[in-house]
Every structure is written in structure tokens, then in C-alpha cells.
Symmetry: C2
Subunit: 427 residues, 2 copies
């Protein structure tokens, strides 16, 4: 590789033996010193062995962010609060380390998301932790809920926005839907798939639309994000009916078995379906959660003995992602799941059924294979998403007074607590 | 309940205390004698306690199927063969038992699907077994492949249609894609979501379109089924890029991360993307399969120790459905999957990564959490579907000469054997 004057943060062109790539030059991670790391315009990082690199030309010097912008508070604008938990949206690329820096205060937010402040004052920013969402678990959901409760019960605040990593965002949205009782104001979860330093970032639109929903009448836990790969409007989707269905697209999150609450443009909201309106209630926390709950997807020929693992390890409940309308291999199969399910239910394990199809619902009455499973005592969760079912089962079994009575557990699992069932679902 | 003259098979109206339902009266199953069972027009069965039923009125007497139809063979039409394996499409409702009867010979098929015979002669019907697809495993895939090989190497037959249950159909289509080497003719898998006795049955269109593809130039393993909920055309979808994404809709099967081969109307085919054309090769079987392979979906807070279960039980490989671009909880989480994955890989378990997002691809290089997982030696399977990955890993590890060398396993898993990777996938 030739000598170069390029510095970290410069916009450069890397000439390879074979090809030319354009992007932002990053500093190589500590452990990969022989690597040139480049963030491409499409947002992906690409690494080259130094020995493969001929030359690095600077196309554009690194942009220096202005340091002393001022937030103008405007008493005619409604006040909102933000909870920052990590993820791409709450980060800016640090071109020196190739890593990300959290945005920790309103000034930081203003620097990167000035449009957010056009319609609202962000009067509080809380950061309970900074994590990738795949590193979160129920204790993190509880922490977010605690912070949210305080903000929601502050009469000075009209609604809250929670920024969050995308990977397991739909589990958190389900958890908050169950953990925040008597919800009085909008709780808006949002994200970005591409960080704000990138031309294609989805963060700005998502945040602008989130602000509109946070000051709206929609007193629901909802996820606000791109409705399509165009950068023109978002959907506000019920927190229990949303799933990440694309690994990288801006419209990764889709409503499943339901309608969004609303279409949200940067300057207006078009209501699509019914929602709970804001009121003067105080939010109450209902944080209980049973850690010993599992989610297991059934696949052809799977040995049913894996369920014994959960029983042996003192699990209290298990959600099975069954096939089609809620089927599992029967006695006609070499791996009799029906017998095993009956066995573990008789020993006290709570077993729930959802469909791995994602769309549609389980219905054990259509085929005899379904009726066989139903007879074991499995709780069929209709059109509930697998991810929501996992969260709900942990939440229900976390309540000791419910957990000790299977009948109450079944009643609670089948009660529509937070929109997790859509009774008007067609077909 | 009042006395009634209604007989099984009659089209009746059941008057409940509260409501009136219309449907086909079924005979109650042996174990549920106190139940009146009705097949509704929407295809679902509904059961009423006899004590809740006021009256049953006959709206239309049961249709008697003509018994002596003749199939006219026509030497100007191309010959195809069918393999019947069970599922809704190969069944007719038996109104006496509420169960289903298999369609076992060309005469039966002709009775129910006369349109199928407009363009082709069905010269052979093979029935290796009759099963719901959720009861199948790799041994069933091998049986189907063996029958298919014989038919495909019969110069009198232009292509084959395999009828199959829907629940795990996409696993079988992937398995046949790997097990049938040097494919020379079309292998068309099809299904119905609603049995032929129902007005809304999707079987006829699916079979007509399947026949067109079976005599076409598309020498691929593909699934042919409804493209939308309208009953007007089908898609022919690559067998490794298809997933059941709705529990009950007629267009339950969707192409994922790829394009269909073709749009198929009852009278014509519109080609959409490239395919392998028919040739004079002999098909060879490659049936090997390692049973000790698992598919595991990761969820928040999941205890990584479950992987030990697979190691202890002598599993050879595992496909992990990771979050987003291929992430798993790291050392920042209370459940360190990265450490556990490294541990089991070091002990010889093959670990592959796919995305539980379904759409898109895994890419461990974008975030540091992904790079942490990659360093453990996980094989990242790009845009491959989880279900296809499970089948492929079993197939690859079934080859002892490959399985004994991790480098070869990785090479084979990343080789595009049967269209399981789409290198032109955007974003």
C-alpha cells in the first residue's frame, strides 16, 4: 500500500488491486490492525487487508460538527420527554474508533436531529442504560418501564419517545404494553436502521413522526417507523402486534394480524384504527416477570425430548411455535410431540401454542392433528405473535397468585390485556 | 334439541340458542358424541354441544359424486406423473366421519379435479405414504425423492407434480432441492389450504397451474400455489426460497429474498426470472441426512446453556435464528451467548447463523456485536431461510467425508447448491 495523507473521518476512495470503493474511513478496531475499515454509503462497513490496498485518495474532508448550537425553548410548543436506551438511533459514528457514541443530552440531540424540535420541546432526556437491544432482557424492560412511569405521571410532559435498538425492539414494545397499567399518554418507541451520519438515515423521519404521535391523543404503547422504503411517512403500530421482518430495510417493522393506529407524516397524522385516548389517570407499574419461560420453534423430525430440558431446569412455561394452524408431530410421526406435551403438562409445565407462520392464527379444531394437541391441555393463543406470547407468558407467570392456578393462567393468557388479540381479524 | 331429519352430508342450518350457522353437517368424532360438528363455508369446523342446539334445518341435500367417470387419454397431450403424500389437497371430506379420504388413483383425481386433465395425461400416480406434513421428517423426504427419481428418469413422463400438506411443505421443497441431483425435468410441489369439497377451494387452480409448470421448460424443484387471495393465478417459487407465511390464506406461501420463476395462469406461463432448463441427464439421488441437527431461535434473556443440551445429546450441528443482521447476546448481557457458542464450537459442534427477521440477510460485519459472534467460528448463511438452512445442514453433515472436516462443511454450506443463496439480492 502506498503512503497516503488521508486521516480518519476523511471521505476517501480506496483503490484496491481489483476495485475502487468509496466511503468514510474508520479507524481499525484494536484487534484488527492489519485492516482498513470503510463505512460505505449503503451503510455497511467493509474491511480490506492493508496488503490489498494500493492507495487511499481523499474525496471530501471529514465534517466538523458545530459545537455550540442552542436549543430555543418555546412555551407555545408541547413538552415531551425522551428515554434513550442505545441502538443505532442514539448513536453517532465515531470515525476515530469506528464505534458509536451515545447522544446523551438535548444539545446532542438537537445537533443531529434539529427537525425533532420544530414541533416539541424535549424537556427531559433519561438514559437508564446504553445497550444493543439483543443484549437486553426483562430486567431492562423493567428499568425502562420505571423511568417511563415517572415521566408519564409528570403533568408537565405530554408524551414520551423511547429510542431503542431494532433487533429485539418488538419484545420491548410488548413488555411495556403489559407493564404500564392505566396508560394515560402516548409511549412511542422508535429506532433507526441506519445511523444519522449516513445520507440514507431513517432517524430523522422516524423521530419527527414520533414527536407528532407523542403529543397526539393516542395513549398507547406503539412503535413508530418507516411505512415503506420511501422516506415519506411512518406507521404507528400497536406494541403487541409488531415484528421486525427485515434485517436492514428502513421499513423493517410490520404490523402483523392488525392495522396500524395511524399513518404519520412529518406534519400530520391520519388515523387508521381505534385507540385508547389520553386521560388523567396515573400510570401504575406491573413489572412482575418469570424468568423461567422459553420460546421453542418446532421443526420437522425434531426430537420432543428437548422439552424435558426445560422441565428439568425448572422452567414454568413454554411457548411452542407450532406449524400451520397449531400442529405438532403426532403419533403418526417418529417424534411424538403430542405425547411429550401431555407428559410435561401433567407435570405442571404451562404450554402455549402460536403459529410459526407469523400471519394468521392458530385454530386446533380444523384438523384432527390439532384436536390431538388441544386435548393435552395446550393453551392456544389465537392470532398472538410468538414474541408477544413469550413476553406475556413471562409476565403472567411472574404473578405468583395467578401462576399457582392453571385455570387463572389460561384466563389471563386469553384475556386481551394490551391489544395482543385482534378479534376482528379476517380469515 | 328438537328431532331433525337432517342426515350427514346434508347442507343444513343449525339454530342455536343464540345464533344460526350454515355449513355441511359432519358426523361427530367417536370421542365427542355429545357434539354436533359443522364445516362452515369458510372451511372451519365448528362444534356445538347438542344441548345448545335447538333445531337443524336442511338447506341442500348432500351431493352424490358420480361414480363412473372415464378419463379420456389423449395421445396429443403430454404425460405427467403425480406423487400423492397426504394433506388437504389429496383428500376429500368424508361427511360420515368428519375425516378425510385420500384420492388414490387417476379416477379419483379426475372426479375431483377434471380441469387438471385438460392439458395433460396423468399416466402414473404414486403414493409413498399419506401423512400430514407436520408428521414428516427426513426419512419421508428420502422416500419422496426415491419415487421422484424413478419417475424423472422415465422417458415417457414430462414432469411430476407432488401434492403435499402445507404445514412443513417448505422444508420438503428444500430437501428435494438438495436430494435430487442433475435435475432434468420440472418437480412441482403443490397443496391446497382448503379441501376440494369447499366452494373456496384453492386446489383446482393450484393443480391446473402445476400441470402447466410440470410440462414447461423449468427443470427446477418449485412450489406452485396461489399468488394472492384471488383465484386467478399462481407463482412458481424456488423450493429453497419459499416459506409458509399465513396459517390459512390461499396465498400462504411467499417467495423470500428472491423472485418467483414465473407467474402461472391456467392457460399460460409468464417467466419472471432465470431457471435451469430441461435436459437429457439422468437424475441422481443424494439422500444422505444427519438426523442430529437442530434449529434454535434466540429470544431476549434466553439462557445460553440450552446449547449444552444439544452437545450432550450428540448433535453435530445447529442453526441459530439470530436477531437482526445475525446478533446474539454478548458479554454486555446477563446471558452471554457469544462465550457459549465459542465453547461448543471448540468442542466440535457446527454452528450456523440465519436471521429471524426472515427477510434480508445476516451480515456480521456491520456492528461490533456481530463481529464478536463471527470470531467464534459461526458460519453466517447470508440470505438463506432458517428452514432451508436446517435442511441443508442436515444434508451436508449427512455426508461423512464432508462432515469430518469443518473447512469442507463451511465451504459446502456457503456453496450455492440449489438456489438457496440469492447473490443479486438488493439491500
Amino acid at each position: 500500500m502506498k503512503n497516503t495523507t488521508a486521516k480518519q473521518g476523511d471521505y476517501v476512495e480506496v483503490h484496491l488491486m481489483k476495485l475502487i470503493y468509496e466511503g468514510i474511513l474508520l479507524e481499525s478496531p484494536e484487534t484488527e490492525k492489519g485492516i482498513i475499515l470503510l463505512k460505505l454509503d449503503n451503510g455497511y462497513n467493509i474491511g480490506f487487508s492493508k496488503k490489498d490496498v494500493l492507495e487511499i485518495k481523499v474525496l471530501k474532508k471529514a465534517k466538523v460538527v458545530e459545537e455550540n448550537l442552542e436549543i430555543k425553548k418555546d412555551s407555545t410548543k408541547p413538552n415531551i420527554a425522551m428515554i434513550i436506551t442505545g441502538g443505532t438511533i442514539a448513536s453517532r459514528l465515531d470515525s476515530r474508533t469506528g464505534g458509536v457514541h451515545p447522544l446523551q443530552n438535548p444539545e446532542d440531540l438537537f445537533k443531529f436531529y434539529p427537525e425533532l424540535f420544530e414541533k416539541v420541546n424535549v424537556v427531559k432526556v433519561e438514559i437508564p442504560f446504553m445497550k444493543a437491544s439483543e443484549d437486553m432482557d426483562f430486567k431492562d424492560w423493567q428499568k425502562i418501564a420505571r423511568v417511563a412511569e415517572k415521566l408519564l405521571n409528570d403533568s408537565n410532559i405530554k408524551g414520551i419517545i423511547i429510542t431503542h435498538g431494532t433487533d429485539f425492539l418488538h419484545y420491548t414494545s410488548a413488555a411495556l404494553s403489559f407493564m404500564l397499567k392505566n396508560l394515560n399518554k402516548p409511549v412511542v418507541l422508535t429506532y433507526s436502521q441506519r445511523s444519522i451520519d449516513r445520507a440514507s438515515s431513517d432517524a430523522n423521519l422516524n423521530l419527527q413522526c414520533s414527536a407528532l404521535v407523542a403529543i397526539s391523543d393516542i395513549a398507547e404503547v406503539c412503535l413508530v417507523g418507516h411505512a415503506s422504503s420511501n422516506d415519506n411517512y411512518c406507521y404507528a403500530i400497536p406494541g403487541t402486534k409488531v415484528r421486525k421482518l427485515h434485517s436492514s430495510k428502513r421499513d423493517a417493522f410490520k404490523v402483523v394480524n392488525d392495522k396500524p393506529f395511524a399513518k404519520v407524516f412529518p406534519d400530520r397524522i391520519e388515523i387508521v384504527s381505534n385507540y385508547k385516548t389520553r386521560d388523567k389517570n396515573k400510570v401504575k407499574l406491573d413489572l412482575k416477570f418469570e424468568e423461567k419461560v422459553a420460546l421453542v420453534k418446532i421443526y420437522p423430525g425434531q426430537n420432543a425430548d428437548v422439552v424435558d430440558y426445560y422441565l428439568k431446569n425448572n422452567y414454568k412455561g413454554i411457548v411452542l411455535e407450532m406449524s400451520g394452524l397449531g400442529h405438532a408431530p403426532t403419533s403418526s410421526s417418529r417424534n411424538n410431540w403430542v405425547r411429550k406435551i401431555k407428559e410435561v403438562i401433567d407435570k405442571g409445565l404451562i404450554v402455549c401454542a402460536v403459529s410459526q407462520c407469523i400471519y394468521g392464527r392458530v385454530d386446533p379444531l380444523v384438523y384432527s392433528n390439532g384436536r390431538e394437541v388441544l386435548e393435552t391441555g395446550v393453551i392456544y393463543l389465537k392470532d398472538m405473535l410468538a414474541e408477544t406470547a413469550f413476553v406475556k407468558l413471562g409476565w403472567v407467570l411472574g404473578h405468583e397468585d395467578w401462576a399457582k392456578n392453571k385455570k387463572i393462567v389460561e384466563e389471563k393468557m386469553l384475556e386481551n390485556v394490551a391489544g395482543e388479540f385482534n378479534d376482528r381479524l379476517e380469515e
